[in-house]
Amino acid sequence: MAGVRRETLQAWALILPALVLLVAFTHWPAVATLVDSLYTTPKGSRPPRFVGVENYVALMDDPVFWRALHNNAVYALVTIPASVVLALLMALAVNTALPGRPLLRMAYFTPTMLPMIAVANIWLFFFTPDYGLFDRIVGVFGMGRHNWLGDAATALPAMMAVAVWKEAGFFMIFYLAALQAMPPDLKEAASLEGSSRWNFFRRVTLPLLMPTTLFVLVNAVINAFRLVDHVVVMTRGGPDNATTLLLYYIYETGFRFWDTAMAATLTVVLLALLGTLAIFQFGVLGRRVHYR
């Protein structure tokens, strides 16, 4: 009995450092945010007042919130599959014997290493009408001027292009690691049996990559809601909220409008959304990814 208690104590002592950090920087802020979202924003000498779910009701009436949610959904639905597929293709390309392979790998990985703010400033000039890179390229084909970031129809796709470019190289690294860890005898066995390359990819490579894909997907989903630096630099959510994403709207509400209660409410909504997605990914997809 005493031995068991000592063991339990020891276990607690061992996880204590990690637990303290986790509680202080993750769990406590999350709970505090939830509590703050039930109060009004303190202004000057007026203390916060308990209002229950009033902030959530107000949020339902906020057209910019719905716009941000819609934009973020589109942003996620396009950038996640695009960057994951691109990452897989790039990993397959640099996994084969190719002249200049290290150089190619590095080129694909470069976007990940560059700071997002610097990247966004470069892309800002790519998208500049008339003399920007893209207008010069389409100009060769006789097409006229495009105001990529100043047009509500193209501004969000432009943001998504930057995100895919930034993300694909990062995910490629995980796929590349998984491909290199794959035992070569599988390939030999398959070629002995006369399996085609496509068949081998579909029946062997892809299923073996599924755990990596799950990991990459989880990260991609988080990034689709987390990566907003380029919005700040390139459009500030404009034109007319065409590029306002959820996290950017939280920042604006919290640190530009100083409505901390509403920012807390938005944060709780974002947390709930990400939590639900994570449960779905690990609960439903997680059970199917392992090759049996």
Binding site: T128, G139, N147, G150, A152, G238, P239, F257
Partner: protein, 431 residues
Amino acid sequence: MRTPRTTRRTLLAGAAGLAMPAIARAQAVSEIEFYFPVAVGGPITKIVDGYAADFMRENPDVKVRPIYAGSYVDTLTKAVTATKAGNGPQMAVLLAVDAYTLVDDELILPFDTLATGAEDKAWLNSFYPAFLRNGQIDGHTWGVPFQRSTIVMYWNKDAFKDAGLDPDKAPANWAEHAAFAEKTTKREGDRTTRWGVQIPGTGFTYWLFQALAIEAGAELANANGTKVNYNDPACVEALQYWIDLTAKYKAHPPGIVDWGTTPRDFLEGKVAMIWHTTGNLSNIKANAKFPFGVAMLPAQKRRGSPTGGGNFHLFKGATPAQQAACLRFLKWVTSPARAAQWSIDTGYVATRPDAWQTEAMKAYVAGFPAAAVARDQLEFAVAELSTHDNQRVTQALNDELQAALTGRKAPKAALDDAQAAGTRLLRPYAR
């Protein structure tokens, strides 16, 4: 007998010498900190640090520490957050239009309750009234003008000559402005190689729009900052004119023109006229490879431009000694000679009439007359749009203006929606 006494005296002197600086510091030296943003090109941080060093040389009993804090929004965020956490700066240079937010949050002190002597009062009255107005709330003065600007028009003289216009004559009114823009627009087939005019619509959409609205005879908000007039007929006229420059005259690029790339477009010769801040004067002067002019904005019912830029604000955490030190520093840094030098170094408008009478300023204007345009326009200047809950109320206008400029809404409908949103946000303050 001599030796021990000498030793003792030496020891005492040494001890006193060691103790004295500490005592002097504790009694007389006030330490003050201020946050400042950098919003234009040029070595601003070096200039500001230089001012602090010069001031401390002349005033050894005050220690001033300027802290660069990023953009205007970053600086506001940092100052407010640090103040709420209890270790904020004593002062900060923040957008003049954020005064309502700072007053409503009870974060700052009015200067007029501090500057009570006759000389102090005279100092506070020495600034251009247009620059003071944004900081005057509830009968108090909450901001000391520092890095202030207005909107002016820059024009490319070569482009004017190319279009058969008098290169030295800027458009004086809206009709001329549209006609000149139409003439200077150059096309090759379907492609436009040079636009007539660009009025940027990102970031500060409301600011550029306010210039048009003032010219059309509208006032965007009341003096108490409790009511907006976004859908005034004159505002609709102003927005229609902006859109017509694209839709009717085909002289302005369609959609929204970026604030940041507009000076570059101008320098690249892609546009003949731009509306931009005076804060960009030094940049354009340094980089234009063609002769250019600077003019007041064209008039419709009247001339006009909103003011812009940042004021010094005094935070509540300052002790009485620090408040006095802040006041001394502000009087020093806004003195005519310093205001003139700051204007020459940065392109910001010197904030008081007597700064323009200094020898340095006279010599500068004689060599570069364009610098005086912003000053002359101050006569027609109006305080920048500012209300309670300012950032949100102006953002409502920004969004709707952008919707109209991108063709998603008709001007009247967009401004009606902005008015509804502004009125809803201001309801708690309108009582």
